[in-house]
């Protein structure tokens, strides 16, 4: 479904991705783990068109999408949920969700999806009219995910959904991710919380300073001594 080959990205002189290749099949959850500054967010941004690659290409459903503008990639069903809870702080919850459906023009469909989001994230229903910026961190995370789901994406790029959440909430977020996946959305999951990420992923890649150094089935990687030492606090 998603094929990334030999991807290079530069920030000026900084060489953030140095030839990354990997793939993701339809229906999978693929985890991408790596330490701070490894280039995980850079990779997601490049896939979703927020950044441009200097070399290499990204193809999605047999079409090259690297180089296309972000909004075209969104309209193909690839949704990027950026790290750091990028909600619209001065819009209400409902308005945030509407923005998520910006590309949908069918009002009834938007209302339906919104209702579905309220079913899945009941906290949001209680806070319909509250401004995004006044939600708690956990609620904001729910809102960014709900907003991303408004377009019913085929592929979701999730950047550190558990960042700064209490353990109970982390569990819940991961449950929701699994649920979304079961309903047919493929997921590329970037996580610091390797333990949790590997426990729900089918496969995983390890990214270190711009290169993929390890890959394999999530369960195998969990037992890999290198991974245990570096990422599972072993």
């Amino acid at each position: 479904m998603l094929n990334v080959s030999n991807l290079h990205v530069h920030y000026g002189a900084i060489h953030a991705l140095k030839g990354v290749s990997f793939n993701l099949e339809e229906g999978e959850i693929v985890a991408l783990i790596g330490s701070n500054g490894a280039g995980k967010s850079t990779l997601l941004k490049t896939i979703s068109g927020l950044l441009e690659a200097t070399e290499g290409e990204v193809s999605y459903q047999d079409e090259i999408i690297s180089g296309q503008p972000a909004q075209d990639i969104v309209s193909k069903g690839v949704i990027h949920i950026p790290e750091g809870r990028k909600i619209f702080p001065k819009m209400t919850v409902v308005e945030n969700l509407e923005m998520g459906a910006f590309l949908l023009r069918d009002r009834r469909l938007v209302a339906e999806r919104m209702e579905a989001m309220f079913e899945r994230f009941p906290v949001l229903r209680d806070r319909k009219k509250q401004l995004g910026g006044t939600l708690s961190g956990g609620e904001q995370q729910m809102l960014t995910m709900a907003r991303g789901l408004m377009t019913n994406p085929k592929l979701m790029l999730l950047d550190e959904p558990s960042m700064g959440l209490a353990p109970v909430l982390v569990e819940k977020v991961f449950d929701i991710i699994e649920e979304i996946n079961e309903q047919g959305t493929s997921i590329l999951l970037v996580e610091q919380n390797a333990q949790m990420a590997l426990s729900i992923a089918d496969r995983a890649y390890v990214l270190e300073t711009g290169r993929i150094t390890l890959s394999g089935d999530a369960l195998d990687l969990m037992e890999n001594p290198l991974v245990i030492e570096a990422y599972l606090g072993g």
Partner: protein, 526 residues
């Protein structure tokens, strides 16, 4: 118990207050204030002369009262409030008195420092201490101390719970009366009273230009031009969040299009006003594209600096000898022909006021439609968080560019009209100051609000025209107004409420939610 920092805070406040007065004196504003005061009392002062001394005293008393009023914190109890008022008034009075000692010394020693501070003439210094010399200093101190205390006491009384509840009950009574009044109104009036007000406003606007003479028509057209410019700039800054400091460049494009195509010199094309105006609008839009494409990635300070540079480059080009044969150089272009409509040419000031009013109406209409559209929502999202906006599928570059183009079109339009109205345009009509004025009117009036823009345009362009006498102090008044504004009403005089986005109406959501819930319930019962 006395809070430990009460003393220091109040003393600081007194210091700030006294500095306000000292600053006023240093720029000679105390004479202007006394002048205004004398106007309030209906006493005319000869131009260039200093008003009667009692008015200076009134100014001191007024400020001392205000200082005392502002000295204490509402939350504190009476005793500490009085103490605060006392400390603040003492500090303010003390420092002002010390400053007056200095003034008195300068006057008596006949030291002339006017070459450094023009306001330090002996007359002006003496006037500050009420023409009294040493005893004036004591009077001043007494004024600041006692009037200040009076201010504090009145503030306490006025803000006491009793006073507040009685005011609230009064408000409630008025509200009730209004309610019963409106209940008695026929439903027709109840529903459409707003349109009634609009209608009255329109009638007034239609009649006034014929009645109030050409001077006020001149003022009205200046304000009107700035209203349209403000609406245009608001689309760039207020709606899409791009700080534009070179707005006057788009003005220039409209003005010069009309000038070059519809004036006898330097080209004598005489295309006619309306086609020239259209060319001007299109030229401004093209200018926006040329500027916009390379700066799309810039944000914040960088964007501001580049747009500022752009504005200056355009102005300098117009002014340069290089293009003198083409643009008329620094002297500008004269005798620009105005519009004709139905065979009648626009000659009087009121004609232009009507023309501008029509375009204001069109601008407001376009602005409202845009702000509440899908495009408006995209702009808002971009302004709040560009990355999140992009991630939801908004075409960042496209929408930002669109805001620039539409905003520039307004500027081109208004530049063309102003050039025809003045029958002249030159490089100095499009200086940085124009850009800053338009931006200031948004800040003073309030972003994203039509009434705010109108108020801002009036405050920044209309008031200075009406208060011609204080013309010299206009820049200063701007400065003070801006500072006070930012402190008192940081969002402007009449800020806009954010356009409501609720595209999905609640009813549909409710309906769907009940639909979804129904089958579930059945299942559990079965």
């Amino acid at each position: 118990m006395k809070p430990p920092n009460l003393f220091r805070k109040s003393a600081e406040k007194g210091l700030v207050y006294s500095l306000v007065m000292i600053f006023m004196m240093m720029i000679g504003f105390h004479v202007v204030a006394a002048n205004l005061m004398s106007k309030v009392f209906g006493v005319t002062v000869l131009r260039g002369s200093i008003p009667e001394v009692r008015f200076m005293a009134f100014v001191h008393i007024l400020f001392a009262f205000l200082f005392g009023w502002g000295a204490s914190d509402r939350q504190r109890d009476k005793k500490s409030r009085i103490r605060q008022g006392l400390i603040t008034s003492l500090t303010a009075g003390g420092i002002i008195a010390l400053f007056s000692v200095l003034l008195n010394y300068l006057v008596e020693a006949q030291i002339d420092i006017r070459q450094y501070l023009t306001a330090f003439s002996a007359d002006s210094m003496r006037y500050f201490i009420l023409n009294q010399g040493q005893s004036g200093i004591f009077v001043l101190f007494a004024i600041y101390l006692f009037t200040g205390l009076l201010g504090t006491i009145l503030a306490i009384i006025f803000q006491s719970e009793k006073a507040q509840t009685s005011r609230q009950s009064l408000k409630a009574k008025i509200g009730e009366a209004a309610q019963t009044f409106s209940d008695k109104m026929p439903t027709l009036v109840k529903k459409h009273w707003k349109y009634g007000i609009y209608a009255i406003l329109v009638v007034v606007l239609l009649i006034m230009p014929m009645r109030w003479g050409s001077y006020y028509n001149f003022v009205a057209s200046v304000v009107g031009v700035y209203v349209i410019a403000g609406i245009g700039l608001n689309i760039m800054v207020g709606l899409s969040g791009q700080l534009m400091l070179g707005y006057a460049a788009f003005f220039a494009m409209g003005a010069y299009s009309v000038a070059l195509l519809n004036a006898p010199t330097p080209h004598g094309i005489m295309l006619g006003f309306w086609p020239s105006l259209l060319v001007g609008v299109v030229a401004a839009m093209i200018g926006a594209v040329l500027l916009g494409l390379p700066i799309m990635r810039l944000r914040g300070d960088y964007l501001a600096i580049v747009t500022l540079g752009f504005g200056e480059i355009i102005r300098i080009l117009l002014k340069s000898d290089l293009l003198i044969d083409f643009t008329g150089g620094p002297r500008g272009i004269h005798a620009i022909q105005g519009p004709t409509l139905f065979g009648r040419s626009f000659t009087s000031d009121s004609d232009y006021v009507y023309l501008i009013l029509v375009f204001i109406a069109i601008s407001i209409f376009i602005y409202q439609r845009l702000a509440n559209s899908r495009t408006g929502r995209a702009w808002l999202a971009i302004k709040e968080d560009p990355i999140a906006a992009q991630a939801t599928g908004i075409n960042l570059r496209g929408y930002k560019l669109l805001a620039l183009i539409i905003g520039a079109a307004f500027a081109g339009l208004v530049g063309g009209i102003a050039a025809a109205r003045n029958a002249f345009t030159g490089p100095n009509d499009h200086s940085l100051m124009v850009s800053i004025n338009v931006l200031s009117l948004l800040i003073v009036g309030g972003m994203n609000s039509i009434p705010g823009i109108v108020l801002g345009a009036f405050a920044l362009r209309g008031l200075p025209e009406i208060l011609r006498e204080v013309e010299t102090y206009r820049q200063l008044a701007f400065g003070i107004l801006l500072i006070v504004m930012m402190l008192v009403r940081p969002k402007g005089l009449w800020p806009g409420s954010r356009p409501v986005l609720e595209k999905v109406d609640e009813e549909v959501v409710e309906e769907i939610s009940t639909e979804i819930k129904k089958p579930k319930r059945k299942r559990t019962h079965a």
